[in-house]
Symmetry: C2
Subunit: 206 residues, 2 copies
């Protein structure tokens, strides 16, 4: 096959697909030159053309995950509380595609926590995501759809809620089908939206 630009691009897409399938099936712990080559039905020799070393393959996979997440389809957001809800639903593993992507994110945490630079990068990523959520929460408060309170604190709580729901749903899909995940999120949003309870709490909680 002549080495044209089109072929090169097609080959890069094939490589991306193969890396993605290996990550879905085996996670970062199972991401090896050999596994990707097998998915591509190619030799590991060909793979070293793309990834001279294992760390290049891992860097490529992390970048692929980032790009696919950034370009994933989002719900029409509306505004106020429904925008908060849409942003949180966009994170959950409600479809096969979102499940694959979340499974790879969770898998990447092991590598990320072991590498200070990558760990900082993840911390920034989650902080940025909390900031976006904070702005949506503040907008919902201005519309009177969420009660007063530090929007950053509410955003940190909401992000915790969905991240933990992602983990539980990945391990136990039968216990967390998509309608159940949405119900749990709606429970959470409904409690957020409740007027603060009066009396008793502080004694019990402090």
């Amino acid at each position: 096959m002549p080495r044209t630009k089109g072929n090169h691009e097609a080959r890069r897409r094939d490589v991306s697909e193969a890396v993605w399938r290996v990550l879905v099936a085996h996670g970062f712990g199972g991401l090896t030159m050999r596994a990707v080559a097998a998915e591509l039905d190619a030799t590991t020799g060909l793979l070293t053309h793309y990834f001279p070393a294992k760390r290049d393959l891992v860097a490529y996979a992390l970048d692929l995950l980032e790009r696919r997440s950034a370009s994933r389809p989002r719900r029409a957001a509306g505004k106020g509380l429904s925008a908060v809800r849409a942003a949180l639903l966009d994170i959950l593993p409600l479809t096969d595609e979102a499940t694959d992507s979340n499974r790879i994110w969770v898998s990447s945490w092991d590598a990320a926590l072991a590498n200070p630079e990558l760990s900082d990068d993840y911390a920034r990523k989650y902080a940025k995501s909390r900031e976006k959520l904070r702005d949506l929460v503040a907008a919902a408060q201005q519309l009177g759809e969420l009660p007063d309170g530090d929007p950053a604190r509410i955003a940190a709580g909401a992000q915790s809620f969905v991240l933990g729901l992602v983990v539980q749903a990945l391990f136990d899909p039968p216990a967390f089908p998509s309608h159940r995940q949405a119900e749990l999120l709606d429970d959470y949003l409904a409690t957020l939206n409740s007027p603060p309870s009066s009396g008793g709490d502080h004694e019990i909680l402090s």
Copy 2:
């Protein structure tokens, strides 16, 4: 050194400590015979005496994590809502020890998701943990310290909340010092404890 039972036990403790330190620093992705041998200041040859193959080392590490988690100190629980709170605080990375342990749990998710048997085992573990929490929630409801509602559903939400908070705190300790984690948990429990809001929600949330 004579091969006495005491020496054998001491050596096993040394091995456990070395495996633990490797997991804290490098996660399951960095758990190799070589890394454990280096921590022990021993040869990889000696290690194969304990772990004939890599998978034996991984199985040992998972078992060690399980045992250490099961035997970790717990807060005096009280009853009702304060028992729910204590159980949730026991999960969070509020101390160095709990941080190490959580870091290893999160790291283990990659391996667990890649292995159907292990994945089922984790699903059962989290289901059991939700059941315990459900019983605590039901007891708090009976005392009138939490409003009515399906206790299993409240437990699933609460477990999501703390698991996601664990992940965020591990990546960003400066943003989630222990007092902040406790505050966020108390915010969550306070909203749970609020009377259901009246009107508006269903229109917005459905």
